[in-house]
Every structure is written in structure tokens, then in C-alpha cells.
């Protein structure tokens, strides 16, 4: 075995990436359909489906909060990881700066959405 091996911290980011990838594959398309097509065009769903009181109630529900946080945060962790590695793959040797921007924005957005969601009360 080689000497001086350093354990990689990648599992943290890779797990968030994996979870986000799975989550976005499962919910992404249907969310685009509901929020972008079905509700605005009143197609299959009544137009008041996403009215303010309904969405507020959703965001005040414990499970609803979890879902919204997961959609925002996991999608972003997924995107951050993918963008960071795509930079690497097209030959841009992205350093600490790119890492901070990619993962940092996902982290900041996670914290901000958690604070806002908690601030909406239960």
C-alpha cells in the first residue's frame, strides 16, 4: 500500500450530489409540468392549485417544509457538483475559487432556505 494516503472528503459532496441527482430525476420533470405548464394553463389542475394561501399552508407543514428544502438544496448540491466536475472535464483546472463558488452557493442557498422556511412558522 502506498504511504501517506489522505482520505478524500469527496463522500460528503458525492452523497449530496447522488441524492440531488436521484431527487431531481424523480421530481424535476413533474415539478416543471405542475408549476410551469399544468397550473398556469389550468391543464389537468385548477389554476388556484398554487394560490398563496395553499402554498403558505404547504410551507408551514412539517413535511411540506422538508420537501421544499430538499428541492432547493439537493438540486443545487447536484448542480454545483456537476458544474464543478464539468469544468474539470473540459480542461479548466478549477481550483479552490471555483470550488468555493460552486459548493459555497449551494451551501448558502441551503442555509437561507432553511432559515426562511423555519421563519414561516408551523
Amino acid at each position: 500500500m502506498k504511504a501517506g494516503l489522505k482520505r478524500s472528503n469527496a463522500p460528503i459532496f458525492w452523497s449530496l450530489f447522488g441524492a440531488g441527482g436521484m431527487f431531481s430525476a424523480l421530481f424535476g420533470p413533474v415539478l416543471v409540468f405542475i408549476t410551469g405548464i399544468a397550473v398556469p394553463l389550468s391543464l389537468m389542475l385548477p389554476s388556484e392549485t398554487m394560490s398563496y394561501p395553499k402554498m403558505l399552508a404547504f410551507a408551514q407543514n412539517f413535511i411540506g417544509k422538508g420537501f421544499i428544502l430538499a428541492v432547493i438544496s439537493l438540486f443545487l448540491w447536484f448542480a454545483a457538483h456537476r458544474i464543478f466536475h464539468s469544468l474539470h472535464e473540459i480542461g479548466i483546472h478549477a481550483g479552490l475559487g471555483a470550488k468555493l463558488i460552486c459548493y459555497g452557493s449551494a451551501f448558502v442557498a441551503t442555509v437561507v432556505s432553511a432559515v426562511v422556511l423555519l421563519g414561516l412558522g408551523f
Binding site: K2, L5, W14, E89
Partner: protein, 251 residues
Amino acid sequence: MPDSQRIIEIEVLRYNPESDKEPHLEVYKVPFSDDMSVLQGAQYIKDHFDGSLTFRWSCRMAICGSCGMMINGIPKLSCETFLRDYFPNRIRIEAMANFPIEKDLVVDLSGFIEKLESIQPYIIPREPRSLDQGEYIQSPEQFNAYIQFTSCINCTLCYAACPQFGLNPDFIGPAAIALLHRYNMDSRDGAAAERMELVAAEEGVFNCSAVGYCSEVCPKHVDPANAVNINKTNAAKDYFLRFLSPKGGSK
């Protein structure tokens, strides 16, 4: 006898470390027959045009793994690639990508050999076993768990295919990880935890971004991408669960 001999143009990446600053291409017009491989084309050049052309080969039947090269930019074994499939176009042969060139089509594989050694590519028994305990019994299921990963011939085409190895030569890489997985999956072996140190290291599996080209170019139908990605899951488990494990996982 055909009335006219067919001739294919072979463009070869030449590099002589003693006189050349950098590699350059040279074109040779090679008469060929339907049964001639690209390797035989290179041999024709060496025999008839330039005896200094340097390349590795041995078995001529896709089992020794010596004659890998870039053929029109794709990593292939030159012994099982045929000139007829490229005629009448020109064919370009180059040293395998991502490796330092020693001379012409010969690359320096010492880094790969070191990696191969580092994965401990041999069975490390779970517990000491004496001769009178007899042979190991392995079920077809246990055998199937690792058998495909034993087919690797160390041709390193997967390294020439791997964009991540190209960017970071310290990456243990597809073939070595496939072989590591082969021993981990063997019911006679008990060193998966030891090998985890390497799998989970910065040189380990997380360099892979799941491109999958390694498995595509493999001439022996090994699936190194699968081995690498299974070990990402293993390494992630080891990362998060090591504090719960009585031995503390690998360092």
C-alpha cells in the same frame, strides 16, 4: 492474386527522445491484404521503410495486452483492428493517450505498474488456513461475483480512454480499481478493509466522474466503470459509518 495491390496510407506519430523536441506525424504507404491487422501494418513499416519505428507487441491475438495504441483517436489493440476497415481512408496511429511517450508508439507504463502493485493484487486470506483443511470451496454465485474482473489483460486502453486520468495522473484508474474489486469480491479474500485506504484516498475512486468510456474501449469486456462506481458507494459507506465500526474503518 488481385491484379492491383491495395495500398493504405498509415500516418504514424513518431518521437525519438534523442533527437526530437516533440512528436510529429509521418505518413507511410503500406500495401495490405484483407487479413492484415494495424499491427501488421506497423510491422510492414518497420520491415520495409524504417527499422527504427518502435512499438510493443507480442501475442497477435488480443490476449497479451501489449499492442494498444490510438487508432484514429480511439484506444484499441492494434492486433485485432484491421486495415481493411479503414481503407480507402488514411489511418492514424499514435501512442496511447494520457501516458508519457518513451519512443514512437511506446509509452511509459511505470506509473501504472506502481498502481497495480499498490492495490495488493493477490488473495490475502481471511484467516490462516492449513493444508489439511483442504481446498477452498466456492459456489458458482461466489465465483460469478468476481470472475468478469479477472479478464483484464493490463493493456491500459482504459487509461488512454479516461479523461480524469488524463487530468490527474495520480488517479489509481480503471484497470487497477477493477482488479482491486476482483480481489475484494473473492470469497477467499479478507483484505477489503485494507484496500479501502486506497479506494477512499484522494487518489481513489472519487476522481471518476462516471464517463464510462473505460468500459467501452475494454477489449476483454471487463466493466471497470462498474467496479469504480460500486467502490464509490463502498467508500461513502466507509466514510460515514467508520465511527460506528468497532475497528474504526480505515484511517
